[in-house]
């Protein structure tokens, strides 16, 4: 039997696990809505994690570490943007190269910090609320990254739907030829979107190495960048559905850990693959039910203003 305290801890850890994915996939969603497929998310995330950890470790400031992680993500995204947007190279190849580069750079930076530990980001405490049973810790006892991810979700949703740059960004992603002919700077907009994706991936990395698991391990992203990419596809490029996808993935990955702890007679490898299977299954069902909206029509197609 699970009592309220255990249940509360489980919910809190689901939120924490989902946050990394939500932040990274929001960034990728923006890049993809602008028409660029950046497979470098994993690389940008781990560079963010490494740089963030190193900076925070050296300076003692989690804020500085976070900012450095964001900056590192942006810098690496610029490598991708330079190749894929301005030199019009193949986006898949450029993205893979970005990830490989990121993994290498992160390993180099992180090699000095193996075996060290940081105090993770502090959690919010609101007397009364945080102590509420079951949901108190999950809702009112999280660190700043969790709340930031939700603010980011709202901001991205609002910006895409309601602002001038959001409209232009969607136009660029759906039909770059028309957007160009209508006078919009296709490559500039895409560069900004990719930079935003890099910033988010860096922030997601900072959440990993400064809050979720506040130490350094060379493979600490463990494929979360790829999951974030998959979530974008399965959410049919809609921010709110990312929230569902990220939390579902987080929930199943935490629950299967507990299931392993209970010693069910199921091979642990199978349980470990459950989050992936569950997310894919749920999102396939959702996208089969969806009406109309598919991938941005210009996604992955390099734009070269002709003549």
């Amino acid at each position: 039997m699970l009592d309220a305290a255990i249940l509360g801890a489980v919910f809190a850890s689901i939120v924490a696990a989902a946050t990394t994915l939500l932040i990274a996939s929001l960034g990728e969603l923006v890049a993809e809505r602008a028409g660029t497929l950046n497979l470098g998310v994993e690389g940008m995330m781990i560079v963010g994690a490494a740089v963030g950890y190193a900076t925070a470790y050296g300076s003692g400031s989690l804020l500085l570490g976070t900012l450095a992680a964001v900056l590192a993500g942006v810098l690496l995204s610029l490598v991708f943007a330079g190749l894929a947007i301005w030199l019009a190279t193949n986006q898949v190849a450029s993205g893979l190269a970005t990830t490989i580069l990121g993994l290498g750079v992160a390993g180099l930076i992180g090699s000095n910090f193996v075996g060290t530990r940081l105090d993770g980001a502090p959690e919010l405490v609101i007397p009364g609320l945080t102590d509420l049973p079951i949901i108190g810790e999950a809702v009112f006892g999280q660190n700043a990254y969790v709340y930031a991810s939700l603010v980011l979700l709202a901001a991205v949703t609002y910006t895409l739907a309601r602002t001038r740059i959001g409209l232009v960004l969607r136009a660029v992603g759906e039909n770059h030829a028309a957007a160009h002919a209508l006078g919009h700077p296709v490559r500039g907009i895409r560069t900004l979107a990719v930079m935003f994706g890099g910033a988010c991936a860096g922030l997601a990395g900072a959440h990993l190495s400064l809050a979720y698991t506040p130490f350094w391990a060379s493979d600490m992203t463990a494929g979360r960048g790829w999951i974030a990419l998959a979530l974008v596809v399965f959410s049919a490029w809609r921010p709110l559905w990312l929230l569902g996808g990220a939390y579902l993935f987080g929930a199943v990955s935490i629950l299967q850990l507990h299931a392993q702890g209970f010693g069910l007679g199921i091979p642990s490898q199978l349980l470990s693959s459950l989050p992936y299977l569950a997310t894919i299954a749920a999102l396939v069902v959702i996208s089969a039910l969806k009406h109309g909206q598919g991938a941005p029509a210009s996604l992955g197609v390099p734009f070269v203003p002709d003549r």
């Binding site: 309601r162 001038r164 409209l167 136009a171 759906e174 039909n175 002919a181 700077p185 003549r307």
Partner: protein
């Protein structure tokens, strides 16, 4: 139902459609349509977009199954036998052939390979060359379709590719040949030679269904015309005794007001090109050393077969390309850089050639498409936030003013028909009263109703002093609208001459390269 039933036509029936009805949800695309076609007959099928022509042909072809009604086709002995619905293979085997407006040719294969493709077993080790070749030669001789069979299709002209398509159908021993808008891409001379071919084929007993928007062609070529409107057959009559106005009225369902075109009062030059070259010298669609002046209050038409330099001219005007040499001036200011936003700001209104590719953004709404070009203007945004209510209100007004048929400003524009989409583009362009209107193939793919509308709007823009540069392949359109006409061929632009002094024949010859460019 045959109009000549009192004097029975001696020719045998080859195709008979009876009571064809097809519904898509609540929409009745075909409503109890009867259609008989006899051997050697050339029948025109007329109708606006959405009248049901495509649905009817798709049923004939087995792409759709009719809800009611039946299709019968003559077998080898001339006896009518029902054609099983929903099978394209059965339709092909029964001798129905179609040449689509967009060709279905493998461009990397030769004409010969394209013709025999699909007629031989996949497992045969080599193409059965000699028999096939002899048959094709015979067909070419009979029909007058001369074309080089041994070069890749990509290297053939559009007219030649069409000949390959027709030969492909003939090679399969068709008894009924459907030609969908076959002259849309041809020069007048090519269209004449196609008409001769069609007559020759009909003389051999082939039944031809000719789908076209060009009423004069229908009147000249076809002996009978069937008109569809709103899914129903509204006329089935001999062409003898019909005229264009009658047919247009039957198609549209109301009288088409004659085009009012007040005399032009040209003002100061708005666009002037002096020895301008655009596009790489090796490109086919380029402009070399072109001179052109378009004044306020006049429409200058550019005739030519697509791909001869119109694209380069349009790109220059729209700011998608910079001149390689020479001087291009807009209201006296030099157009040096490729700068679409700058052109918009300078007063160029662009009606693009391909509204799907670079005119609209399908996934966005009508309202969003309406404001995309002027999104930075204060009436559309404040501090980066869209003024959505204001945008929606103005889009709703434009929808009303331009008679756009759509569920509303929040509908995705890709759900609109071509004509309605074009009206949104027109509204976007004309609502900001541009100095220069670039109308590139503004009525391509539109039906008579929408075309009339576009023409009226362009003449109105000219009336309020705008300069209009009209690029079109449709000579009727050019002669109906233009004050002066220039012809572009292989990158060379002829001088723009007053339209009154020109005739279709001369312009057609110039489109084929006589008297334009180096030789001029």
């Amino acid at each position: 139902m045959h109009p000549d039933s009192r004097h029975p036509d001696p020719r045998p029936l080859v195709l008979s459609l009876t009571g064809i009805t097809k519904r898509f949800g609540s929409l009745v695309a075909n409503d109890a349509i009867d259609l008989d076609v006899r051997a050697g007959e050339i029948v025109a099928l007329l109708g606006e977009n959405g009248a049901g022509k495509t649905t009817l042909m798709s049923i004939l072809f087995g792409h759709y199954i009719a809800d009611e009604g039946s299709v019968s086709i003559a077998d080898a002995d001339g006896k009518l036998a029902p054609l099983p619905g929903g099978s394209a293979q059965a339709a092909l085997a029964a001798g129905i052939g179609m040449v689509h407006q967009h060709f279905a040719l493998a461009e990397n294969l030769t004409g010969f390979e394209n013709i025999v493709l699909g007629t031989q077993s996949l497992w045969s080790l080599k193409l059965r060359g000699r028999g096939a070749r002899a048959k094709i030669s015979r067909l070419m001789a009979e029909s007058g379709l001369a074309v080089d069979l041994d070069v890749p299709v990509a290297r053939l002209s559009v007219g030649e590719q069409q000949r390959i398509e027709i030969l492909k159908a003939l090679y399969r021993d068709v008894r009924v040949l459907i030609l969908d808008e076959p002259t849309a891409v041809l020069t007048p001379q090519e269209a004449d030679s196609l008409a001769a071919t069609v007559r020759a084929l009909a003389g051999k007993g082939l039944a031809v269904i000719f789908i076209s928007h060009k009423l004069h062609e229908v009147l000249a070529l076809c002996e009978r015309v069937v008109v569809l409107r709103g899914g129903a057959k509204v006329a089935d009559r001999p062409t003898a005794g019909a005229d264009r106005a009658t047919l247009a009225e039957l198609m549209v369902g109301r009288a088409i007001p004659p085009r009012e075109r007040p005399p032009s009062i040209p003002g100061a030059p708005v666009l002037s090109l002096k020895s301008v070259s655009v596009g790489a010298p090796s490109a086919r669609d380029r402009l070399e050393d072109a001179d052109l002046e378009v004044c306020g209050g006049e429409i200058v038409g550019i005739a030519g077969v697509s791909g001869n330099g119109q694209g380069a001219l349009a790109a220059l005007v729209a700011g998608l390309a910079a001149p390689r040499a020479g001087e291009a001036l807009l209201d006296g200011a030099r157009l040096a850089a490729a700068d679409p936003a700058g052109r918009v700001a300078a007063g160029v209104g662009r009606i693009p050639e391909d509204r799907h590719r670079d005119g609209t953004i399908g996934a966005l709404t009508v309202a969003e498409n309406f404001v995309l070009e002027t999104i930075a203007a204060p009436e559309n945004q404040r501090a980066g936030l869209l003024r959505r209510a204001a945008i929606r209100a103005r889009a709703a007004e434009a929808i009303k003013a331009y008679d756009v048929r759509c569920p509303g400003p929040e509908a995705a524009i890709r759900a609109l028909s071509g004509g309605n989409m074009q009206k949104v583009v027109l509204a976007r362009v004309l609502e900001r009263a541009p100095r220069l209107v670039l109308a590139h193939q503004p009525t391509r793919g539109l039906d008579i109703g929408a075309t009339t509308d576009v023409h009226r709007r362009l003449i109105a823009a000219r009336g309020r002093g705008a300069a209009v540069l009209l690029i079109s392949e449709d000579l009727d359109e050019l002669f109906a609208l233009s004050d002066r006409i220039a012809v572009v061929h292989a990158g060379h632009l002829s001088p723009a001459l007053p339209a009154e002094g020109l005739d279709v024949r001369t312009v057609g010859l110039m489109m084929a390269g006589h008297g334009v460019g180096e030789a001029a």
